[in-house]
């Protein structure tokens, strides 16, 4: 509940800012504000998109229950138009254009993830439709000089830098980091930020490789990582990738050092794990636990990083 309130409050305030600031006259003929949300409801990103849709629906339901959004003293009901772009980025761009030209939406939630959000933003910018990229945190999305694009996430390095600092402060035996990134905009961007953060904090990056989208098996990669004996393994990707990597890490008897040894921590599609002789002492997990806390955990993640983490980190190294 707290999370949804936070989310809806954030979105509300942003939307209002967008309303007043940019297109107060654009679409207020009727009493409904129409939002377009192109999402990858089928295809490889479907699990993420379905959760995202539930989030949007929750917000719309709560906003409407409260009488709608207030614009200039008048209340407007919220309506969300969805379209499936089948996890296909070029189709995301077409869908975005369709929503603007045929569904006549007033605002847009950008397509899912940094890559598609960046691609879609060029269309919404052309038609001057205010867009919230609700699931993009890579700086490459926002450095285009666009005026109609808004973000909700903090940049990738605000995730990796504090994380590295916490690990460095609380787990002194972590010296070597291995990074494995899905070759995709967000997963690769955050892996590169992780590399920078690790180097800046004096950790040695012993492995940095990309894996192709739709990789079916990671055993060769993980064997190689294991042979380099890093204490921290940082894998980026989406649900399917992380399920597979996690399973194969257990298969290869790669044990956790930074976090738990059996459970795993996954934040925004980041998997942290490492190897340690003293793992029995590492009973507390570093940040949130969870089988697959994914991008939707982002809001919670930032809150937890601020509030919960310093308390929770009790790594007795």
């Amino acid at each position: 509940m707290a999370r949804s309130r936070l989310m809806s409050r954030r979105l509300n305030s942003l939307l209002l800012a967008a309303c007043f600031g940019l297109s107060a006259s654009a679409a207020l003929a009727q009493d409904v504000v129409k939002f377009g949300a192109p999402l990858p409801l089928t295809g490889p990103l479907a699990p993420e998109a379905v959760k995202q849709q539930q989030g949007y629906d929750l917000w719309a339901e709560q906003a409407n229950k409260a009488g709608g959004i207030s614009v200039g003293g008048k209340k407007y009901k919220v309506e969300i138009v969805y379209a499936d772009y089948q996890s296909n980025t070029p189709r995301a761009v077409q869908t975005t254009e369709q929503m603007i030209t045929q569904d006549n939406v007033n605002f847009l939630f950008g397509p899912f993830g940094s890559g598609a959000a960046k691609a879609g933003s060029s269309v919404s910018e052309k038609y001057k439709v205010p867009t919230i990229a609700a699931t993009a945190s890579s700086s490459q999305v926002y450095d285009q000089g666009y005026k109609y694009l808004f973000g909700t996430f903090t940049p990738n390095d605000t995730l990796t830098t504090p994380l590295t600092q916490i690990v460095k402060a609380k787990a002194a035996d972590v010296k070597k980091v291995a990074i494995l990134a899905r070759n995709d905009l967000f997963p690769l961007a955050i892996a590169q930020e992780m590399e920078k953060s690790a180097k800046a904090n004096g950790l040695e990056v012993v492995y940095f490789e990309k894996y192709a989208i739709n990789t079916l098996d990671h055993s060769a990669t993980l064997s190689q990582i294991k042979s380099l004996a890093p204490q921290w393994i940082f894998v980026t990707g989406y649900i399917n990738d992380l399920l597979l990597v996690r399973k194969q890490m257990t298969d290869q008897q790669i044990k956790a050092g930074v976090g738990d040894d059996d459970r795993w921590s996954c934040l925004s599609g980041i998997h942290r794990c490492g190897r340690s002789r003293r793992r029995k002492h590492h009973q507390r997990r570093l940040v949130a636990s969870g089988r697959a806390v994914f991008r939707q955990g982002h809001f919670r993640y930032h809150r937890e990083l601020r509030e919960a983490v310093p308390r929770e980190v009790q790594v007795r190294a």
Partner: protein, 288 residues
């Protein structure tokens, strides 16, 4: 040490690839049908194993016994009712037909199971064995053994049983087989049924190893295709050789030049094979 580990990984993965490809190879070899529904059959088999384990606590090993006849019947019916109508048409027609069937089955699975990823996790987990520092996960090992056993069974069927000889005869010369009194349409249906049964069994084994989702069907189909071209069409041992070769190339490529380029390397090899040795490693006309 690392070399040994990479080698073992590749051998085990290669047998799994062979298991994925064998049914596809049989159908392509005997019926000359590029069966695009194969990947979706594998996923359906995985869902069967997952469903039986989740709801009735039936171990995937027993699920194999259920999957094989169920998928045989499914494949037999599809061939008898639909595919046999166009079996003599050019290969593009059957390709398009199986493409359409695949779309129907795959989207039905997305609708019914949702696109979410599932995982069949055994309790207690099977763990891994470690010999001289080389680690092999037990579930993969057992799946490899099962894959080899399935391959062996298919080999014996084709070699020893009357129906198997009939399948080989139809593959070698359709018209001559017909003159000898072989019911060609029925043999087609049986071969397609066998292919489907092998796909279903492969799916049950894959459920233990890979996440389950309707969306993984294209990945399986892609691997099956490459394995068939590398190993040689319609040959039982060819599928095994092709699978191991593909896994070796991927494993070594991933270690030496990075995982991002492993796929590139395997497809480059595919092109080389198509040019230099289009019949594949062990490709021969007919079965053994």
């Amino acid at each position: 040490m690392l070399a040994a580990q990479v080698l073992i990984n590749a051998l085990v993965l290669g047998c799994l690839y062979a298991c994925i490809a064998i049914g596809f190879s049989l159908v392509w070899g005997v019926l000359n049908v590029i069966n695009l529904i194969h990947g979706s059959f594998i996923v359906l088999g995985a869902y069967l194993a997952w469903g039986l384990y989740q709801s009735l606590h039936i171990s995937p090993w027993y699920a194999l016994i259920i999957a094989a006849p169920a998928f045989f019947v499914l494949g037999y019916v599809i061939q008898r009712v639909i595919l046999n109508r166009v079996i003599t048409a050019p290969v593009l027609v059957t390709l398009t037909l199986t493409f359409g069937l695949d779309l129907i089955l795959n989207n039905a699975m997305i609708y019914y199971f949702k696109a979410d990823y599932r995982k069949l996790t055994l309790t207690p987990p099977m763990g891994s064995v470690s010999v001289f520092g080389v680690v092999v996960p037990v579930d993969r090992l057992v799946a490899t053994a099962a894959a080899l056993a399935l391959t062996g069974v298919l080999y014996l069927i084709l070699r020893r049983l009357r129906v198997g000889r009939a399948i080989v005869a139809v593959r070698l010369d359709r018209d001559a087989a017909k003159l000898m009194g072989v019911d060609v349409n029925s043999i087609y249906a049986i071969a397609f049924g066998l292919g489907a049964a092998l796909a279903g069994c492969a799916g049950v084994l894959m459920a233990l190893i890979f996440p389950i989702s309707p969306l993984t069907s294209t990945a399986y189909l892609g691997k099956a295709f490459v394995v068939c071209v590398l190993g040689g069409l319609g040959s039982v041992s060819g599928a095994l050789a092709g699978g191991i070769l593909l896994a070796l190339i991927e494993g070594i490529g991933s270690t030496l030049i990075g995982p991002a380029h492993a796929t590139t390397l395997s497809f480059a090899l595919l092109i080389v094979f198509l040019i230099v040795r289009p019949q594949g490693l062990l490709g021969r006309k007919g079965f053994e």
